[in-house]
């Protein structure tokens, strides 16, 4: 048992931290947030230059996969800085989807460009009414001649406006909630039959509703058999969200501790009040428990599908989700009026934590997932 990263992993983690603290400070980030696109291609290129977009790319395409600990450290650092760029969507989930499903030729065609930061792909999987159910895919795939045409609607597709390519799940067979029959398609974001309703999420991420009206798609992997890879890719995404949250939670606690030491009322720093000290001690416990589960999620997500993997990832998101809610809400509370203004870091962190709790399954969803996996254990 070992919790210390190797020297190389440590170096990589420190490099990411250094880069983000020098080049992605709060004011810089705000400018990016307020820009029309809501993300920075310059930052994205720099992430590519640092090799961070190739962590999940296989060695044959010049990457570092599986790079479990490297990914964990990288995303945790990004969580601290509240990165606005499509790292988890493109460099993790979409990369894993292509890695796991695509033919050798497709991998060669797609992955090097993504690793170089020249091409951004994001998953367009969830649909209106499906909530967080990975299996529930109603989008239809129809073959005509040698080509596929897709018809359906994808909801809350994070970073879709930034993407060059959407990885769209659709089915040519099977019931709407059946794993079998789901295929994955590469669709050009500005291609025919693709229309976006772009918007920002509550934490400022650029996203869109995507409508597909006989949009041409290129099949990635075998027809009807994409689900295991989709589940694996979203488990990696879930682990990444847990790591991102661990970073954001630590930043939220740190900024709250600093604020209460500085802010004076009744002639003394408010950090001297026991009610507040205890609240921050409770916040710390949530942060540490969430960090522990971000480790577990990272390790398990890289393993083959099993009940243990599902239980661990569901459990991780429950602990992380509870932490996001408690730490986020209390951080705002302890900042008083300043906590509800747009100008403080804590309100941005709170919004990010709120979004992270809701992404890829909220706490209630994953509690149910955990119970379902446990019930199978007894059967």
């Amino acid at each position: 048992m070992r919790f210390t990263p190797t020297a190389e992993q440590q170096q990589l983690g420190e490099m990411v931290q250094r880069f983000l603290s020098e080049r992605y400070g709060f004011e810089t980030r705000r400018k990016i947030l307020d820009s029309a696109a809501g993300w920075s291609r310059e930052v994205w290129s720099k992430l590519a230059e640092l090799g961070l977009l190739s962590l999940q790319v296989p060695e044959e395409q010049g990457g570092m996969a599986p790079a479990v600990v490297e990914t964990l450290l990288t995303v945790t650092a990004m969580g601290k800085s509240m990165l606005l760029e499509p790292y988890v969507s493109s460099a993790i989930i979409a990369t894993v989807l292509i890695r796991e499903l695509a033919s050798a030729r497709q991998r060669e065609e797609l992955l090097p460009g993504m690793a170089a930061g020249e091409r951004i792909a994001v998953p367009a999987h969830f649909e209106p009414g499906a909530r967080y159910d990975l299996r529930r895919v109603a989008t239809a795939a129809r073959r005509s001649g040698g080509a596929w045409a897709l018809k359906g609607r994808k909801s809350v597709v994070l970073h879709a406006p930034a993407a060059d390519m959407l990885l769209v799940s659709a089915r040519a067979s099977g019931a709407p909630d059946e794993a079998a029959g789901i295929s994955l398609f590469a669709v050009a974001r500005d291609g025919a039959g693709v229309s976006l309703i772009p918007y920002r999420t509550l934490d400022g991420i650029s996203a869109a509703e995507v409508a597909l009206e006989d949009a041409p798609g290129v099949l990635v992997g075998e027809e009807g058999r994409a689900f295991p890879a989709i589940a694996a890719a979203f488990d990696q995404g879930l682990a990444a969200i847990c790591a991102e949250a661990a970073g954001a939670l630590q930043a939220t606690l740190d900024t709250t501790v600093e604020y209460t030491k500085m802010r004076k009322q009744f002639g003394v720093p408010i950090a001297t009040f026991q009610a507040l000290r205890h609240r921050m001690a409770e916040m710390l416990m949530h942060v540490e428990q969430a960090r522990s589960m971000s480790y577990l999620a990272a390790m398990r997500a890289a393993e083959p599908e099993s009940r243990e993997r599902r239980k661990a990832l569901a459990a991780a998101k429950v602990v992380v989700g509870n932490a996001c809610r408690f730490v986020g809400q209390q951080a705002v509370q302890l900042h008083g009026g300043m906590g509800v203004t747009d100008e403080t870091a804590v309100s941005h962190l709170f919004r990010r934590l709120t979004a992270l709790e809701m992404q890829l399954g909220d706490t209630g969803h994953h509690l149910e997932q955990f119970i379902a996996a446990s019930a199978q254990e007894g059967a």
Partner: protein
């Protein structure tokens, strides 16, 4: 980074498991697993069994007759022992006064007291709290005055766990009433058979007599029974409080109780189905199970840091708070699992005195008592509020 045990650690776990399977009596195991009271004899017999195997001091260094196990091995041992239904080893000698004597005692004290802890010949009690001194321990009033080659001890200690079984007690006493609170305290080892020592049991809310008041009236204690410097006792007390760390979270114990809770909830019926399948109950149970999973990893992180000598210290407070919250949650869920049969309170069944039949299901008998009893967990060993003060001060720097 690696969250699984190494092959050496797994081999060690198998060795411990095999020993437990072979050496633990079926009767003791059953009492522990069913949550019934474990007798003085059960506890001592188990200590002696371990001692014969050379495992009497799982947390002690070899030079004092211990196993020399690293923190991860100690953790594995505790976890396996809990899972197998072994009685809890007495912490008062092994984890409290033993390490203090090793660190601050003289050679004569080490030779005299340490082997008798390992062999189970001595049962120690901890004499810290007083009626007016709980969380504010340094305000203690029990006095020890010099009288030639001895001290005369007068005062009252309280909440002394299992003092009725003990033959020795280690006490914090005030040797310099004029000094500042912490500065005038000494650490004395007192033979409970000395004239003037009176033990009075306190009946607790679950009907048990687990703790006691201990009175000292002109009790003569030889100077040689003082550990370390006169008036230096506070340092030793703090060392002791920070020492019991590897098992403060009680992960092994809680895993065992979780398994018991699941057994009970699969027996109990609600709407004709196992209670385990009731959505509201399942959600509460899952939440505790998940908290425990996280605590286990947090605990291992703290141990790993300790093994790498990056001793984190105050993280023990986090483990104590979360660990006791989970213990309490589990006992509460277990009591609720049996519904109305949590109410009958057949003390004789719990003690197995009458051999009488239980009123509801046999597993229901001790559940309410355990729930009531475990309210102590967030109070003892530095209340959870004190632990939050420690986290705020030591980790957050507030």
């Amino acid at each position: 980074m690696e969250l699984t045990f190494t092959s050496e650690e797994l081999a060690f776990r198998d060795e411990v498991r095999a020993f437990l399977a072979m050496s633990l009596s079926a009767d003791t195991r059953r009492k522990v697993l069913e949550g019934l009271e474990v007798s003085r004899e059960d506890t001592l017999r188990w200590q002696q069994t371990l001692h014969r195997r050379g495992w009497g001091g799982p947390n002690w260094p070899r030079e004092f007759g211990g196993t020399g196990w690293d923190p991860v091995q100690q953790y594995i041992f505790e976890e396996e022992s809990a899972a197998a239904g072994a009685p809890r080893l007495l912490p008062f000698g092994l984890k409290m006064v033993g390490p203090v004597i090793m660190r601050f005692g003289n050679a004569a004290q080490q030779k005299r007291f340490l082997p008798r802890i390992l062999s189970g010949d001595d049962w120690w009690a901890q004499g810290y709290s007083e009626p007016g001194s709980g969380s504010d321990l340094a305000s203690l009033k029990t006095r020890a005055e010099r009288a030639g080659d001895r001290y005369l001890v007068n005062g009252q200690k309280t909440w002394i766990t299992l003092a009725q079984h003990a033959n020795w007690i280690f006490c914090l006493v005030r040797t310099d009433p004029a000094a500042k609170k912490q500065a005038g305290i000494s650490f004395l080892l007192i033979d409970m058979k000395t004239p003037g020592v009176t033990v009075r049991p306190i009946t607790l809310l679950d009907g048990s007599q687990e703790v006691n008041e201990v009175w000292f009236e002109d009790v003569e204690v030889p100077l040689e029974n003082r550990v370390g410097e006169e008036n230096g006792g506070w340092t030793y007390a703090k060392f002791l409080l920070g020492h019991e760390r590897t098992n403060i979270a009680g992960v092994g114990y809680s895993k065992r109780e979780l398994a018991r809770l699941k057994r009970i909830a699969s027996e109990e019926r609600k709407d004709g189905r196992p209670l385990l399948q009731d959505p509201a109950f399942a959600a509460r149970l899952a939440q505790v199970e998940i908290d425990l999973m996280a605590l286990e990893i947090t605990n291992l992180r703290v141990l790993a840091a300790e093994a790498e000598r990056r001793a984190p210290g105050a993280e023990a407070s986090l483990l104590k708070i979360k660990g006791t919250e989970i213990q309490q949650d589990l006992s509460e869920l277990m009591m609720h699992a049996v519904g109305p049969y949590a109410l009958p309170f057949p003390r004789e069944v719990m003690l197995e005195r009458s051999g009488g039949a239980s009123i509801g299901p046999a597993y229901a008998s001790p559940l309410a008592a355990t729930y009531l009893n475990l309210r102590k967990a967030s109070i003892y060993g530095g209340s959870n509020e004190i632990q939050k003060n420690i986290i705020a001060q030591m980790i957050l720097g507030l």
